[in-house]
């Protein structure tokens, strides 16, 4: 006498969204924890990935300043005299360096310390900012009127410009202090501070003799657009035989990039752990939240909501909060990436140009939303099985005990995610998947005991 019951009421997505909003009115404080969990993970992820991207870009942009020249040849022996005329023909703009370790002395303050002595002839560095104070000291140095000393070294002994420094048998006027030298990080000048000596005066120190450990370097500047690799190609075998290393802008880009790839990888692992912690936070917050909502769900079911509708109300809520957390996290991450270069400043060879990395932000927001939903889904699934009978007897009415097919499906998703995510590489190589892959190799897919 009545039409057959349809499996679900006619209420559509609009109603589900409205209910999701209404239901969130109370307990928003607790949902804040959920948002914070997602935001934490995503902030770390976005911050570190953006930083990695910026670092990689800065290294590429500043590699020339890092080298200070277009080509550097270096060897632990004086260059073969047969090779010298050919090298001289490479470019009219060249500089020579002899570098060695030695005790240096500041007679006025009676300070003695092991330092790196770099004897330089010519106009090195050709690129980058050689930060020397006073400015005019560079010209004075190149004219052979005195030495330049690392600021670190001067301040260690309370010595100052105008004092003299003694290197071997030579006593030199300190004409300037060096705050930054291209290619030298703050850290390396702290470990082995440098005294720059005019190349013509190196012999007078008496420190370069047969058997001394000296590093010989030759710096070249070429006309813009010169193909440096092609230029030195004919020399390769001769360089090899003479134990000469060549360093070009391109090779430095590669080497520095590789070295700092390890740093970003390590940081990515940190981000990944933060993300996992965030996910655990999400899962536990949601399962507590669901427990509080059982009574409300039972009422909804009693009034005619289907299990699917009840689940969707809370899934929409979770997704909304996940998105909110991800956006907050991305914004925080943008802040973190601006701060990281300052925190790591002394370790970094280049000035990292801070910029918002949109790919990192997009991946972060996507990952935040996806992981929030994925990790919330398992605890949320129990909503589908809340018995409407609870409205009559909340105390001891057990909810449907039948195993949920969806739960198995959800676990499969988790496992899938743990296998697939590490193989995606959405940004320029600094993404944590690389580390995750190593992590997974060691620990296997998600902990086996976590399965149902």
């Amino acid at each position: 006498m009545h039409r057959a019951p349809t499996a679900e009421g006619a209420a559509g997505w609009g109603w589900l969204l409205r209910m999701a909003w209404r239901d969130s009115r109370r307990g928003r404080g607790r949902l804040l924890l959920f948002v914070a969990g997602v935001a934490l993970g995503i902030a770390a992820l976005v911050g570190i990935n953006s930083f990695g991207d910026n670092l990689a870009r800065s290294i590429n942009e500043q590699a020339r300043e890092l080298v200070g020249a277009d080509l550097v040849l270096s060897s632990s022996q004086p260059f073969d005299s047969a090779l010298v005329p050919a090298l001289r023909r490479l470019s009219p703009v060249q500089a020579q360096e002899r570098a060695f370790g030695s005790l240096v002395q500041f007679p006025r303050v009676q300070g003695v310390r092991l330092a790196q002595v770099r004897g330089i002839t010519g106009g090195f560095p050709y690129y980058g900012d050689w930060d020397v104070q006073p400015r005019a000291a560079v010209a004075a140095f190149r004219a052979g009127r005195g030495a330049l000393v690392d600021d670190v070294l001067l301040s260690q002994f309370g010595a100052r410009v105008g004092d003299s420094v003694r290197v071997g048998r030579l006593s030199l006027l300190i004409v300037g202090k060096v705050l930054h030298t291209p290619g030298q990080s703050g850290l390396s000048s702290a470990v082995a501070p440098t005294v720059f000596v005019p190349g013509a005066l190196v012999a007078a120190t008496g420190l370069v003799q047969r058997g001394s450990r000296v590093q010989y370097r030759q710096y070249f500047q070429f006309k813009a657009g010169t193909d440096v690799a092609a230029l030195i190609k004919p020399f390769e075998t001769r360089f090899d035989q003479a134990n000469i290393d060549s360093d070009t802008v391109a090779s430095r880009q590669q080497r520095t990039g590789r070295a700092f790839h390890d740093l970003t990888r390590y940081l990515s692992l940190v981000a990944f752990v933060a993300l996992l912690l965030g996910c655990v936070g999400v899962a536990s917050t949601v399962s507590l939240y669901v427990r509080e909502k059982l009574a409300a769900v039972a009422v909804l079911r009693c009034l005619g909501a289907s299990g699917r509708q009840a689940l969707l109300i809370y899934l929409i809520q979770t997704a909304g909060l996940g998105l909110l957390g991800a956006l907050i996290g991305a914004a925080l991450g943008a802040g973190v990436q601006a701060i990281l270069p300052r925190v790591l400043g002394d370790f970094l060879p280049v000035a990292v140009r801070v910029g918002v990395s949109w790919p990192a932000i997009a991946t972060g927001v996507g990952a935040g939303l996806g992981l929030a939903v994925l990790f919330a889904l398992l605890p949320l699934l129990s909503i589908r099985r809340v018995a409407p009978l609870r409205v009559l007897r909340a105390a001891f009415e057990a909810d449907t005990a039948a195993p949920d097919r969806c739960a198995g499906w959800c676990w499969a998703c988790w496992r899938w995610a743990s296998w697939v995510l590490p193989t995606c590489k959405p940004t320029s190589g600094s993404w944590p998947w690389a580390s995750a892959r190593g992590w997974r190799r060691r620990w296997g897919p998600w902990p086996a005991s976590a399965g149902p």
């Binding site: 009545h2 009421g9 109370r26 009422v299 079911r301 299990g307 009978l389």
Partner: protein, 235 residues
């Protein structure tokens, strides 16, 4: 024609120790549309269990329930939810309003679930009818017990149900408030022509219905027509 037909209904719960605990033993009755019907009995006699089965909130161990001609035993959980939404209204001892929804929204939910437009106007009118027109935007926590029960009355009639199930509707109310709520319940019921199934252990309240089913220990003891004079006198 019967609006509710219960046939040989048995409900037992598995018990940890041994034999299952049977709380309803082959209960049968039939209810005509428009009847008011009370189920009475001492605490623990199985009244709530019986109501849950009749309203499609629970499944019987054996036996059948036809609600408005629809056999409930063969339906899935979601199908029974749809039947409840289409044909059934509820009133509970502890009100069961959604705490995060205002009074108005609580009354709207059954209609919204049906996808009906204009639920706000209908809900507002119902709230006026139960004397809470000015409290529409208050949350349950801001309402007294009696007021909450009046909101739940409004909600119960919102989807114009064929059948109204009330489980101890005055169980959590003081006597004066009880009287107001009960009067309102019978008035609304008469106006809407709804069939009422009222579970109570209050014999005085039961006497206001047309018919009383007395259960004890999970079996029907008797099924009597009340004196209409009696009901009239009270109403």
């Amino acid at each position: 024609m019967s609006i509710l037909k219960v046939e040989n209904l048995t409900k037992s719960y598995p018990s940890a120790g041994g034999a299952p605990l049977t709380v309803l033993h082959g209960v049968s009755f039939e209810l005509a549309a428009g009847d008011t019907f009370a189920i009475v009995g001492p605490s623990g006699s199985g009244k709530t269990t019986l109501l849950g089965l009749c309203a499609g909130l629970d499944r019987a161990t054996s036996g059948s329930v036809w609600l408005n001609g629809i056999q409930l035993d063969t339906l899935s959980e979601d199908q029974r939810a749809a039947v409840r939404n289409q044909h059934v209204g509820f009133i509970f001892q502890n009100f069961q309003l959604l705490p995060t929804l205002t009074a108005l929204e609580n009354v709207q939910v059954p209609q919204e679930l049906r996808g009906e437009k204009g639920s706000a106007a209908t809900a507002q009118a119902l709230l006026e009818r139960v004397g809470l027109g000015k409290r529409a935007h208050h949350y349950p926590a801001q309402l007294s017990g009696g007021e909450q029960q009046r909101v739940s009355l409004a909600r119960a009639f919102a989807n114009r149900p064929a059948l109204l199930f009330a489980d101890e509707p005055t169980g959590n109310l003081d006597p004066d408030t009880s009287d107001t709520v009960v009067d309102l319940l019978f008035e609304l019921n008469r106006e809407a022509g709804t069939t009422l199934v009222l579970v109570t252990h209050d014999l005085e309240l039961a006497a206001r219905t047309q018919r009383t089913l007395r259960v004890r220990g999970g079996t029907v003891q008797d099924d009597v027509r009340n004196q209409p004079v009696n009901a009239q006198a009270r109403a």
